[in-house]
Structure formats: C-alpha cells, structure tokens
Amino acid sequence: MKFDTPATTNPIDQLKVVGKPTNRIEGPLKTTGTAPYAYEHQDFAATQAYGYVVGSAIAKGKIASMNLDEAKAAPGVLAIVTAANAGKLGKGDFNNATLLGGPGIEHYHQAVALVVAGSFEQARAAASLVRVEYTRDKGAYDLSATVGTAGKAPVLYGNQPDTAVGDFASAFAAAPVQLDARYSTPDHAHAMMEPHASIASWEGDKLTVWTSNQMIAWSAGDVAKTLGLPKENVRLLSPYVGGGFGGKLYVRADAILAALGAKATKRPVKVALQRPLMMNNTPHRPATIQRIRLGATPDGKLTAIGHESWSGDLNAAKPEGAVAQTRLLYAGANRMTAMRIAALDLAEGNDMRAPGEAPGMMALEVAMDEMAEKLGLDPVQFRILNDTQVDPEAPSRPFTQRQLNKCLQMGAEKFGWSKRGKPASTRDGKWLVGMGVAAAFRNNLNANSAARVRLSSAGIVTVETDMTDIGTGSYTIIAQTAAEMMGVPLDNVVVKLGDSSFPVSSGSGGQWGANSSTAGVYAACVKLREAAAQKLGLNPADAVFADGKVKVGRRSFALGDAAKDGELVAEDRIEFGKLAEEKQQSTFGAHFVEVGVDSATGEVRIRRMLAVCAAGRILNPKAARSQVIGGMTMGAGAALMEELAVDKRFGFFVNHDLAGYEVPVHADIPYQEVIFLDETDPNTSPMKAKGVGELGICGVAAAVANAVYNATGARVRSYPITLDKFIDKLPEMT
C-alpha cells in the first residue's frame, strides 16, 4: 500500500480498540518470567556451551602476542576464538570498529577473544588465563582538545553539516540583545537492563541466532556480511528485548562471537556481554561541545540563531547531530548551523534515544532560558513569541501540525508556573526551590513496514512481522490495530514479532516504530478484509467488520467462516511517499520541572515533573505514557548524574558498571504527570499517529537545568549538573 496522500476516514477511526489505554498483552509473560529473552531460550539447553568475551586492555595499538596455552588447558574449555583463528571476517554496514579485534586494536574492551567452555564459570575462569601482550599507540581521547582542529562532519541522515539562511553574522552583530554561550554534554551509556546477548546455532551452513536486537533485517544482513554468508542462510530471532535505547540497533560482538564459537565447537553457544564491557565495547551517545548564539530585538523576537556542535567518533565516522532541532524549532530570519567532528579513539559513538535532539535540546533550551532572562521575558512567553508554523529554512513548507504553544500554555497552567519566583528566591525549609521549562521537540520519521496476517476458522487473527518490542508496547499496539481492523476482540489476536523469517518491518528506532509498524499491519489487514469478504461472497467495499462478524446489510457471517476452507493469509507493506517532504512532520511538547536544591550541600532532587505532548493520535495512552515517563526519567539522569567519565591518558570510560555510571533510581523520581493533546495527523499514515518514545526525553534535561538555575541563581552549562560545579556559587551558610 502506497501512502502518498493524506489519510481519509478508515476503520481505525472507530477507536473501539485503538486509542484505549490497554495493558500489555505480553505483560503476564514478563511478570511471570516466562517471556524468554535472548540468553534464556531453552531450545538448545541440552547441548549449549558458554562463551565469555575477553576485552582489550588498551585503547589503541596492537596485540604483540597472545598465549592461549593456559586457557586451553583450563577445565571445560572447548575452543577459543580469536582474530587469528576465526578466518576472514567482513564488517557490517552499520559497524564502525570491527567486532573481533586483533592484531589491531581500535578501542578499549574491543573483543579480542571468546573463550567457549562447558559452563559459564569455566569459560569465565579460563578467560582470565588468556595472556595478551599489547603494544600501545598514542590515541586521541579528549574532545575539548579537538575543537580548533575538527573537520566538517559528513552528511548525517541526509542532513548537510552546514546550513545557512539569511545573513547570520550581520544579524547577530546587529542584534540589540545577544547571547553567546557554550555548553557541553558528556558521553552517555544506554545502560539498558538486559545486556547484549545471543545464542547461536548452526545446521550445516545455516545459522540461527537468538539475540536482543531492535532492527532484525539490518542485523540479519550484517551478521551475514560479517560471516560471509548469503543473507538467506541467517535467521535472527529477537522476540523480547530488555531495553535498547538505540544500543541494540546494530549487531554487536555477542552475536558474531556466539556464531564463531558455535562454528568452532559444533555446539550452540550463548554469549552475553559482561556488564563491565558494556560501556566500552558497545556504542554510546557521543559527548558534545556546543556553541549557541542568539540575537533578538528588545521585544523578544529572535533575529539570529546560530548553533555549532563538536563531537568525536572513532575514525571521525558519525557526528552527534545536536543542531537538528535548531533548524526547525523557532522562527528567525537569519540562521546557521554547523557540525564538526574529530577522530577519537574511544569506542564508537552512535544513536541513543533521540540522537541529535536529546543533547541538542540540552543546550538550546538552556540558551532560550538565558535569553528570556536577558530580555526580561517569561521563558514560556519567549518561546510562544518565537513560534513558527512553517519550516524556518523553507517557509513554503508548513508543519503538518504544530501545537507547541498549546503545550506550553496548558503545561504552565497545570503546573502552577505563575508561582515561579525570581532566581534564588524561593525556599522550603532547607531547600532552595526552583521551576524550569523547556520545549520538547523531535521529528517524526516513517519507515516502510510490512506484515503478514492470518485468519483461522476459529476467527483468530495472527500477525507476523519482524517488528521488535523493546519494552515499548509494540505487541499491544499491533494487536490493537489488527483487532480494530478485523472487528475482533483483542483476545482473538495473536502477535508474533522479531523473526527474520517474517515480513520486514520498520523495526524499532528513531521513534518511527509505532506509527510505521502499525501502518504496515493496517495495510495487511486491508488485504485480509478484502480476501475475507470475497470468500464470503460479500462486496469488500460494503463489508462491515465488527463483533467478530462480517456484515453487509442483513447478511452476517462469523469472521472465521471466511477461513473454513483453509487459513486465509494476506501480506502487504506500507510504503511512504513524499508527504514528509512536502510538509514537516514533527512532534512537540513542553516539559515542566520543579527541583529542590539542598542549600547546604547543593544536592539536587527533583520534586515534580510534567510533560504535555502533541504527537498525533496516541495509539495506546497507557503505553505512550510509559514511554514518556521513561524518557523523562532518562532526561533526569542526563541532567543530574549520567556521564561516562573519560580517562584521557588511557582512553576509556572509567565508570564502566552500574555502580559507577549512575542512572536515576525510584527515589530520584517522585512525581510525574503526562498529558497528551487530542490530535490526529492524517499526513503521517493511515494510523494518523506519530512517534512519542523519544519526544519524552527531548528537553527534559534543560528543564531540570533551568529549574536548578531558578532555585540557586547558579547557571551550569556543563552536564551533568553535579553539586561540585556550583557549590561555590551557593549562598553563604550562616
């Protein structure tokens, strides 16, 4: 099904199932521990062996020698895979560093060996007996040292590294009110609960990998490419994923090494990346340094907007697109953005929840707060004043829908924004109290997505697609979509996901999964409705699918009757046309945060959070709320504690476990509220929905930062906002 004109009325608009707050259909499996995650599949339990990864002890250089004698002689050891014995390996399209290092070493904890043994404990014990001598090379590890020399970034997702409209330099120089500030965001870890894990098994030259991955088709392709196999010989299964956040978009060492270990031992092999390897072995969100210049008239109209961002990556491969939102969020006739990138020898950077916008908004929305103060304007009003309903770089392109102002206004009212005081003026006992606001913004992306639907004589509808559910609720919204389309209760829908033998979906990433994958299911269900109506001798255009029946006038059949001669199967794919080029599809929101700052110690504790979101039709308000509060929680972490600490001498992230890399715990997040505006956007898909999972994080950290400023009067421009950065600016203790 081509989608190249805006949607009209369709069966989804009935909203009997879609749009209702619905519990996760797979929830009972998860809460009873019976949803098998990658490491837990029991199919091979009788014969499986265990792999343990040895990570490089240096960041850059070479393996001078490797002695496997002791490790091979250790109890239970079956095989040791290294680059020297693995045979020729390719590199996946989505990988930067190779997944099995040696002799060259590209980053710390790059895998250099997999020890396979009969038990996990044997593999782990033997892994410590692998003796590796390294020759260290000098590497570059300090982003701030590269700012003067960094080159122009490559094109990122079709976006040029430099953009310019009007005459920024002149307009900024002439602006009566100016802001010129630098901000920095650190490297972030996805720190998902389930580590990367895989079980691999060979039958002849055919490989099956149970893994934890967000993008099945990409990753099946990269497994094939890395191992030199035809793609059809690789089957990837990832039915349950314990968190991804972008860290599982691509194939990682666990899958490749499990396959190599299984080949070497002729047994199924399971591998989970050890937690201390997660930070340096897998991708992370790269640190940024950002410079923002804003020029405005005294009455608060932006006349000049400039945003430059520096980031680093292994081989200078991929920038963090922190300027993305600045091209679209506010009006202003003269604008420029620029992305620069340096080669760093840390583990590769890559996508993490709202890549680009998440760290970009951390800077831009603090800059907006600072500018509002210079102008003497309320920061909510300042943003409203600079709203645009068209793409500011291409004014002939309107937004399909843009209710940012409404989000800000409603949020301000619900949150009690009018009670916000001047900086450092509100106290509650020992607490300095402050409120902050930030806009939320993230583009809506769509990706072609296919599904197969089956109808049984019992009236059960089964959906098959390689879509993944990374904890987001895909199972449930897909079931809701099929139930709505086929007129059956939710209980009569079975959803099967995450199998590369199923039709290729959008996968989960970039907050494109919900709208795209359900649209693919919609398309397949349209075909199934036609097939069912025809089978029943009904005109498909007139048939009404409701209450488990198909009706035309007085003629009524049980839906299952259409399959009484045999299962009906339909398959289709939603293919997105050029609507997204004609009009800009984005999601909007407003984050409001109240913090308390201990007046003695500077400890920052969040007291309240509110998000108001405008993101098209909300397919399942319960799951969508979970996505947004998850984003808000992650944003709170980015604001206050999350930082991969770089050792600039040895070139690695030092705090590589969950004791050192702190993420928010329950005590950090006391109260969260989420409001969705009632929207439908016919430009996005027949579902009229948009993404919401990444909108939730965009702007949160800035709202926290602005609240800390409002509480203390101390402006911190370097995340995370830890007390050591402003303790000297707190009021004197009496």
Binding site: A57, I58, P75, E121, R124, A125, S128, P276, K430, D598, S599, A600, T601, G602, E603, R605, L640, M641, A645, V646, D647, R649, F650, V654, N655, H656, D657, A659, G660, E662, P664, V665, H666, A667, D668, P720, T722, L723, D724, I727, D728, L730, M733
Partner: protein
C-alpha cells in the same frame, strides 16, 4: 572467578583453625562485596570459610553499659534494633543510608567494616592499582578521582573506605573484638582499625592473617542529637561523595566524623572543641593538611557546608 574450595564452620575456633589449615583462605559472611570481587578476580581466594552461621548474631549489653554487636548481625537487624535506634541513632541512620534493602539483609557487621574501596581503577584489572597489585602504580592519581580521598592518602593510593556505618562507629568510639588463629582475643579501638595507605595500600586494616572479627562494641550511650548526612549524586543507592556523622549536645559540644574523604572514617578529636564556634572552624582543623586534585577539591567546601547544614538541623 578462580576455582576455590568451600567449607562451613560453626564456631570461631573452627573458623580460625580452618584458616590455619588451608592456604589462601578467606572468611565469607554476607558475601555482598567479596563475591563481586571474586567474579572480577580482584580477590582470588583458594578456600572460602563460611562464617555466616556462627552464633555471633546477637546484640547484647556489655558490663560497661554499652552494646556488643555480634559480627554476624545483619545490617537490617542492627538498624532496626530498638536499643540502637534509641541510644545510637547515628548507627541506625548511617546503616539505612547505605546500599539497598536487599544488600542490608545480607551484609553483616563484621563484613561492613571490611568492605573494600569503590575506586573504579581498583575494579578494572587492566589498570595499575597498588591496592590490588602492589607495586603496579596508581591510575587514579591523575585520572578520574572525583570520588576519592582528600586527606590521609599517599602517592601510592588515594582510595577511600566506603562504609557508612563506620562513620558512626568512629564518632561513637566503637571497638572491634577479634580472635586470632592461636585463640588469642584482643580489642582494637575502631580508631586504630584501618592502616594508612603509605607505601602499602594493599594492607588495609590492623587485622593479622586469620584474625576473625567476633563483635563490634559500643561504649555507653553519649546522648545528644544524632545526625547522619550522606551527600551523593542521586537520592539512593550510591556511595557517598562525602558524609558527615554528628552527635551534638544541648550545650553545643559534640563529636563529628566524616566518610568519603579518606582511607578510614575521618575524625580529629581536637577539632571538636570548636563545634560551638561552627562548621568553618571545625572543618579547618578537621581537614588541615588536605591534599586535593582538580576533580575532588570540591569536597573541602562540601564538608564545611554539610557540617553547617547538619549543625543547623540538629538545632532544629
């Protein structure tokens, strides 16, 4: 994890005898720290002697009017004991500021004060660390040391001792009772329990090999208001950046000990005379001679401000 043998013992005498019998022995009680370290091969005992069933799980009055806390008393039980809560509030408050409920259910009195540093370089066996591998150097000095020591450290090691309850024990003049492999018992003032890192940071306590902690004793209650403030980057389940344990009397006199600044809970009795004069005066003496890095210099003003805060809180 290296392979090891394991035995369970019923009495302290059996424990020390087992230790004497088997080379490479370590005692294990709750295991909340030791097992993690064994998995990473930072600790590689050849033999584990499980002392968790020793009958040292009681809290009893001492003849001197204090309390004897058996070495096997669980953190949770200690924190919730009525006498502890009433007379030694600092102990209870420090305990519940540490770890998680699950860990406190397993962790014991003896094990708590023997937990090892949380320096990230100690935990990464690829990195030099004089504490883990004597003579290999210290990667933390000149590296990521935001959480590490500002006083009492050496050029060989700037690790901190992470126990929360240790701060309370130090402020309250606790002692450690032990028995060694010859059956000899002794009492070590908690003030003398930890050894300065000097050139030998791998030797952390006054205990000799095989010496087993049987109890921690608290002298008779000192009264006053007890406040423990653990400063951290998140609200729960994090190690202290610094912590302050304060006992203050109505007349303004009192005692104060610090966590997160040194290889041991840090207390300077001579500084306490200045408590009535306020935090600035006390901190100046308490942290005299401090040596900070670019990353951890904030701990000095933080100690002063936190002490000022808890003094204000104690006044109500």
């Amino acid at each position: 994890m290296k392979s090891f043998t394991y035995e369970r013992v019923d009495t302290p005498a059996a424990a020390t005898a087992a230790f004497a019998r088997t080379k490479g022995s370590r005692y294990i009680a709750g295991g909340t720290n030791l097992l993690d370290l064994m998995k990473l091969e930072i600790e590689t005992p050849a033999h584990l002697i499980d002392i968790s069933r020793l009958a040292l799980d009681r809290i009893e009055p001492t003849s001197g009017g204090g309390l004897r806390i058996g070495a096997m008393v669980r953190n949770t039980d200690l924190a919730s004991d009525e006498r502890i809560r009433r007379d030694y509030g600092l102990v209870s408050r420090a305990l519940v500021a540490g770890a998680s409920g699950q860990l406190r259910n397993k962790a014991t009195m003896g094990g708590n004060i023997l937990q090892r540093t949380r320096c990230p370089y100690f935990y990464d066996t690829n990195q030099p660390c004089n504490k883990r591998q004597p003579g290999s150097g210290c990667a933390a000095i000149g590296g990521f040391n935001r959480i590490l020591a500002v006083i009492g450290a050496s050029d060989a090691c700037i690790a901190t001792q992470p126990s929360d309850v240790g701060v309370a024990l130090r402020a309250l003049d606790a002692s450690v009772e032990t028995v060694n492999v010859t059956g000899k018992t002794r009492v070590i003032p908690y003030a003398d329990f930890y050894r300065a890192p000097g050139e030998t940071p791998h030797i952390e306590t006054a205990l000799v090999p095989g010496e087993l902690i049987t109890a921690v004793t608290l002298p008779r209650p000192v009264g006053g208001t007890h406040v423990y403030h653990k400063v951290r980057d998140r609200a729960s389940y994090a190690f202290a950046l610094i912590s302050v344990g304060l006992v203050v009397q109505r007349d303004g006199t009192g005692r104060v000990a610090l966590g997160g600044v040194a290889y041991k809970p840090w207390r300077v009795e001579a500084a306490e005379a200045d408590l009535p004069r306020g935090a600035k005066a006390v901190t100046a003496k308490l942290l005299a001679g401090a040596k900070t890095t670019h990353e951890n210099a904030y701990k000095l003003p933080l100690v002063e401000r936190t002490l000022a805060g808890v003094l204000a809180q104690a006044k109500g």
